[in-house]
C-alpha cells in the first residue's frame, strides 16, 4: 500500500486534519528501535501516517531528533508516495520556515509534496484572503487552503489528495529562481506578501496572556487550576463511579442468583466481581483526568504553565518543560517518560525521567480512592465545592510532587549525571489560545479508558484467580486456614512493623506487578471471608474489619513512593539506556516507601 505522510509544526492543527482525513479510524503504532509514536490511519486507498510535530528539520531536542530521523527514513522508502505538509495560515512566516525545509527535502528525494494551508477560517475571520494560486506558483508546489475545524476547503483538499496520491510524480516541487536563498528570507518575503499582519493575529493571544501570565494573577490562576484539576477527579467522577458500582453490584446479584450455591458461585462472586469489578469502578476517574489534561493541552495553556514553572523548577535542577511530563505522569508514567524527550537539556531530562514515577499515576488512583474511603470521612465544605476526601486526595498528589522535587535536588546536587553533555537553554514558543475541538478530545478520553482496562484487566484477572484459588482451598472458603494464609504468615514479619497483617502483605506483594492489582487482590480476599455478605463495598468491608489509622496512612504513603510497575522500569531502562538507573530507582524508591510507611505506623 502507498503511504502518505503528514508533517507539520506543533500546534498547527495537524492532528485535527489527520482525524478529519482518517475519520478517527487510526491506530498508534510503535516502530522498532526507540519508540516513536506514529499514528496511522486509512484515507481512501492510502495509508496516512502522522509524524510527530517538529519546529525544524535541524533538531534540538531528543524528540525532534527521533522524528527527523524517521522522516529521513521515510524519504528513502519506496512506500512513501506523497508528503503533506501542514501550515498554519495565521503564522505564515514561522510555518514556512519548516515548510521550505520540507520542500527542499522532498525535491532532493523526488517525492511529491502538497501544502495544506490549515486554519484558514481564522484568517478569513480577520477579513483577510490568501491567494493560494499565486502562493503555489511562488512555492513551486500545490497549496490548498482549508480549515480542519470548520471543514472549509476540506472536500477540495481530499479530491486533490487522491489525485496526487495516484500520480505523485506530478507533485515533485519545482525549482525556481529563489530556491537558493536562505529559508528565512524566502519565508519572510512570502509572509509579507500573503500573510496576515502579525499584530492583528496576536492581539487576542497577547491580551489573554496579560491576564494568565500576570505576575500576581498568573501564579494564583495556575495554582487554582491545578487544585481544581485534582478536586474534579473526585467530585465529577463520583456519580459515574457510583453508576459503575451499581451496575457491577447488579451483575453480581444476577449472576450469583442464577448459579447454584457452591464453589463456582463463590468463584464468580469473589474473584470475578470482587476482584476485577472493584477496579473497574475507578475507570471514570481516569477519564476525567485525561479530559482535563487534554483540555489544557489543546487550549494552549500548557505552554504557559511551562513558562510559569520554569524559574521555580530551575531551583530544583529541572526545566519548565519538565512540567508537562510531570503533569501527564499523573495519568501514566510511561508516556510521560517519553514526553521528557522534549526537554532539550540532557541532564534535566534525565532528572525529570527519574522522578516521574513519583507522580501519582492513574494506577494509584484505585488504591488511594479505596484507602481514602476507608479512612477519611466524607465531610463537605463551602457548599459542597470542597470535600475532605478530595483534599486528602490532593494532599497525596502533593506529597508525590514534593518528594519528586526533593529527589531532584538531591540528584542535582550530589550526582554528575549527564553533566558532560552540553547544557541546552530554555526556548519556548507560545501557541495561540484555541477552543479545543470536542470530537478528538472525547475520542482520547474513551481511548484512555479502553487502554487502561486492556492493560490492567488481564493481569488483575489472573492475579485474582490465583489468589482466589490459594485463598479458598483447601477448606472451601476458610481464608484463615488456606494455602494463601500459610504463605502470608511466612511474609508477615516484613509487614508487621507497618501495622499490616498478612492479607495486606499479599496484596502489596502482588501489586508489584501493577499497582491496581492491590484493590483486586484485597477485593478477592475480603470477598472470600465475607462469603455470604454483599460483594460490593470493599471499603465498608475493610472498615468493618478495622484498619489502624497509622497503618492506613503508611499504606497510602507507601503507594505514593514505591515504584511498583514493571512497565515503567522497562521504559526508564529503554530511555536512559541504563539498567543500573532503572533498577536503582526501583530499589531506592522501594526502600524509601517502606521507611515512610514504618514512620507513619509508629507516629499515628
Amino acid at each position: 500500500m502507498k503511504n502518505i505522510i503528514l508533517v507539520g509544526k506543533p500546534n498547527s492543527g495537524k492532528s485535527l486534519l489527520f482525524n478529519q482525513l482518517t475519520g478517527l479510524r487510526q491506530k498508534v503504532a510503535n516502530f522498532p528501535g526507540v519508540t516513536v509514536e506514529l499514528k496511522r490511519g486509512k484515507f481512501e486507498q492510502f495509508e496516512l501516517i502522522d509524524f510527530p510535530g517538529t519546529y525544524s528539520l535541524n533538531s534540538l531536542s531528543r524528540d525532534e531528533e527521533l522524528a527527523v530521523q524517521k522522516l529521513h527514513e521515510a524519504m528513502h522508502s519506496d512506500d512513501t508516495s506523497l508528503i503533506v505538509c501542514n501550515l498554519d495560515a495565521t503564522r505564515l512566516e514561522r510555518s514556512l520556515v519548516f515548510g521550505l525545509q520540507v520542500r527542499d527535502l522532498a525535491r532532493a528525494h523526488n517525492k511529491g509534496l502538497i501544502f495544506a494551508l490549515n486554519m484558514i477560517d481564522e484568517v478569513q475571520r480577520f477579513g483577510h484572503n490568501i491567494d493560494t494560486e499565486e502562493l503555489s506558483r511562488d512555492l513551486g508546489c500545490a497549496v490548498y487552503a482549508l480549515s480542519a475545524k470548520t471543514l472549509i476547503g476540506l472536500h477540495e483538499f481530499k479530491l486533490a489528495l487522491i489525485k496526487a496520491g495516484q500520480s505523485p510524480e506530478d507533485y515533485i516541487p519545482l525549482a525556481n529562481e529563489q530556491s537558493d536563498s536562505p529559508v528565512l528570507e524566502i519565508s519572510r518575503g512570502l509572509s509579507k506578501r500573503y500573510g496576515i499582519q502579525a499584530d492583528v493575529v496576536l492581539k487576542r493571544q497577547n491580551s489573554i496572556d496579560d491576564f494568565l501570565l500576570n505576575n500576581i494573577w498568573g501564579g494564583i490562576i495556575f495554582l487554582s487550576l491545578m487544585f481544581l484539576l485534582f478536586q474534579s477527579i473526585f467530585s465529577w467522577a463520583t456519580p459515574l463511579m457510583d453508576a459503575v458500582e451499581a451496575v457491577i453490584g447488579e451483575g453480581a446479584a444476577i449472576a450469583t442468583g442464577l448459579l447454584p450455591a457452591g464453589v463456582v458461585n463463590d468463584f464468580v462472586a469473589d474473584a470475578l466481581f470482587g476482584g476485577v469489578g472493584s477496579f473497574l469502578v475507578f475507570v471514570p476517574q481516569i477519564m476525567v483526568l485525561t479530559l482535563i489534561i487534554g483540555l489544557l493541552e489543546d487550549s494552549g495553556y500548557l505552554a504557559r504553565a511551562a513558562l510559569i514553572c520554569h524559574k521555580p523548577l530551575s531551583y530544583f535542577g529541572l526545566s519548565g518543560r519538565s512540567f508537562i511530563p510531570y503533569l501527564s505522569g499523573h495519568a501514566c508514567a510511561i508516556p510521560a517518560i517519553m514526553a521528557a524527550r522534549t526537554i532539550e537539556s540532557p541532564r534535566k531530562r534525565l532528572i525529570t525521567m527519574m522522578t516521574i514515577p513519583l507522580m501519582s499515576c492513574s494506577a494509584r488512583l484505585p488504591v488511594y480512592a479505596l484507602l481514602i474511603a476507608v479512612l477519611v470521612p466524607d465531610i463537605r465544605y463551602a457548599g459542597g465545592l470542597l470535600n475532605l476526601q478530595g483534599i486528602t486526595f490532593f494532599g497525596l498528589y502533593l506529597f508525590g510532587i514534593v518528594t519528586a522535587l526533593t529527589v531532584s535536588i538531591v540528584l542535582n546536587k550530589l550526582t554528575s549525571l549527564n553533566k558532560d553533555m552540553p547544557e541546552m537553554p530554555f526556548i519556548l514558543e507560545l501557541p495561540t489560545y484555541r477552543l479545543p475541538h470536542w470530537k478528538p478530545l472525547i475520542h482520547r478520553v474513551l481511548t484512555s479508558a479502553k487502554q487502561f482496562i486492556k492493560r490492567a484487566a488481564p493481569i488483575i484477572f489472573m492475579v485474582s484467580v490465583v489468589i482466589w484459588f490459594l485463598g479458598y482451598f483447601p477448606q472451601n472458603g476458610e481464608l484463615q486456614s488456606s494455602y494463601l494464609a500459610m504463605l502470608g504468615h511466612w511474609i508477615e514479619p516484613i509487614f508487621q512493623p507497618l501495622g499490616l497483617d498478612w492479607r495486606y502483605g499479599v496484596a502489596i506483594l502482588v501489586s508489584f506487578l501493577a499497582r491496581e492489582v492491590f484493590v483486586g487482590a484485597l477485593g478477592t480476599l475480603f470477598g472470600i471471608e465475607g462469603a455470604d455478605e454483599n460483594i460490593a463495598g470493599l471499603a465498608e468491608n475493610i472498615q468493618a474489619d478495622g484498619l489502624a489509622l497509622g497503618a492506613g496512612i503508611g499504606l497510602m504513603l507507601f503507594y505514593v513512593v514505591a515504584l511498583q510497575c514493571v512497565a515503567t522500569v522497562a521504559t526508564i531502562k529503554g530511555e536512559t539506556g541504563s539498567r543500573r538507573i532503572a533498577w536503582g530507582l526501583f530499589v531506592g524508591y522501594g526502600l524509601l516507601a517502606y521507611c515512610l510507611a514504618f514512620a507513619a505506623a509508629q507516629l499515628f
Binding site: Y55, S56, L184, A198, V201, H310, F426
Partner: protein
Amino acid sequence: MTLWEVRNKQSAHIESVDPTLLPAVFQRLNEMGFAAGQLIRCLRRSPMKGPLVLQLGDTVYSLEQSIASRINVHPA
C-alpha cells in the same frame, strides 16, 4: 546592550547573536527569526529573573536569561 536588558513593552532591533553558542542553538535561533535587523518587542518580564516573553515576526517566544543575554540588540 543585550536582549535580556530590554525593558517591558520596549522594542529593539537585533544586532547579532553570539556566534560561540552551540551551533544547533545558534541555527535554531536563526530559524526562529533571531537575525540581524529584526525587530523584537518585549511583551513581559517574569518575576525573579524568570524567562522573558517577546514577539518576533508572527510568533511569541519565551527565552531564559542564559540565552537572552547572548543576543545583542539596540533600542528601536
